[in-house]
Symmetry: C2
Subunit: 274 residues, 2 copies
């Protein structure tokens, strides 16, 4: 049995279907700079959205088993698809605390809205799953939720196509349907979207508050670790580890864009063994 | 043993890692309207580019075995990554004629160029593999080849984001480096790019001839079938079959965009069994 002091030293495990979850890592770096992180990006089986529920659940189980092998003290599912359809199952099957990205975003949106009109943007898979709308309406039934898929935002973010006129045009094109719906809160329901936060804010105007799921998830993680007395005391060496299920080259390039810093500690693993 | 008349009735097998190969199907429809087609789109394992050579070769072997089960008379590898790294192996391992998309595009480019300066655009994987440049220089060593990856073209084509100012801006941005290089020929080295042919032509100007690999591959197929006396005589029912390795929904939507017609005959198969 591990003592609490030993457990505090253990890393936080974060997994995603690809690189998107790195925006959650970036927020954890900011908020909890004393924590060690083990990240698994399942780039070899990306994207999870569009696959069957059973497939996503099996992938998520393997991802959890991989992280548990690294003796993590907490797991974040930084993937909207897996958070939508697999979170409950892996929570039931494991003793460790597991947090998804949807509940923190939904909670923050409900806390923020004054007029009970909330917009959600995400990938086709996330929007099609209706998971943010359900999470919001579980909290406050009378809320009107308007959901919109913005499929080009992921490739634009991955290509670093951020401060460009083309990206502004595409954002205006997508978001114009939301602008006239009198929402006061917009949830960035995809871990890639924080990279486009500035352009989305410019298009939506300053009266609409953007909720960043990655940021809210990191906040909730900090609160939960504190509550359970699992925060790592400062001091000692910090080392983060990144694992991917396919060639690491592309991952390392994009990772820099998402994290704002270079990472050199990327290892390829065969996730199908787990 | 099948008679030649029986063999002529058999379908043409075409496989790709996803939907892109449908541009080849569209060209075969145009050029050889009497032929039946069996298409396999490996959407469940898309994209092949970025995976290891061994993995792509194994995937291609499975794709070929699947098509052979449908008694095809000819196979087209409508996938640039598989054509680059697996074509030779599957040609050696099988008696049936197998044609890739790279050689026909390279041949047409060499036949067209007057000043021996050819541009190639494609995905990062195709450009990184250097396969078009090698195929061109095998034919004419003194040719100067300028290669450029245009990673946003695939999602723009899949989203049908074609006649848009944003797409024109992105194309201008990518292609400006090629415009000043005095090329007279540009190869569309990705099966998705024919959807963006108009905008690419507008950006490049009319002095530069675009070579469409999908079109060239269909032409070469027609020539080879004719040469081998394998063209299907006109008359009788024609039926095309489409198979995918994951949920067919998204495929059917995008397929319409690529083919210019609806398809209703889409079946999901477990390709890992082959």
């Amino acid at each position: 049995m591990m003592t609490n002091a030993e457990l505090q030293q253990k890393p936080i495990g974060i997994f995603d279907s690809g690189v998107g979850g790195l925006t959650v890592v970036a927020e954890v770096f900011k908020l909890l700079p004393e924590e060690n992180i083990v990240y698994f990006g399942d780039v070899g089986r990306y994207p999870y959205g569009g696959r069957s529920k059973e497939t996503i659940q099996n992938f998520a189980r393997q991802d959890v088993r991989f992280l548990l092998e690294h003796q993590v003290k907490f797991i974040i599912v930084a993937c909207n698809s897996a958070s939508s359809v697999a979170l409950e199952e892996i929570q039931k099957e494991n003793d460790i605390d597991i947090l998804g990205v949807i509940e923190p975003g939904a909670r923050a949106a409900v806390n923020n809205t004054g007029n009970n009109r909330i917009g959600i943007i995400g990938t086709k898979a996330t929007i099609g799953s209706d998971s943010y709308a359900k999470a919001i309406q579980r909290r406050r039934q009378e809320t009107k939720v308007f959901s919109l898929a913005c499929p080009l935002f992921v490739p634009l973010a991955e290509e670093g196509y951020i401060e460009k006129e083309a990206t502004h045009l595409i954002a205006s094109d997508y978001l114009k349907t939301l602008i006239n719906l009198d929402i006061d809160t917009l949830v960035l329901g995809c871990t890639h979207y924080p990279l486009l936060k500035d352009v989305i804010a410019r298009v939506m105007g300053e009266r609409i508050r953007l909720i960043d799921s990655a940021e809210e998830t990191a906040r909730e993680l900090a609160a939960l670790l504190s509550l359970k007395n699992l925060l790592r005391p400062s001091g000692g060496d910090i080392s983060h580890k990144f694992y991917v299920s396919d060639v690491p080259d592309k991952f390392s390039q994009i990772a820099e864009r998402f994290l704002g810093r270079q990472i050199d500690n990327i290892t390829r693993v065969d996730i199908t063994r787990y």
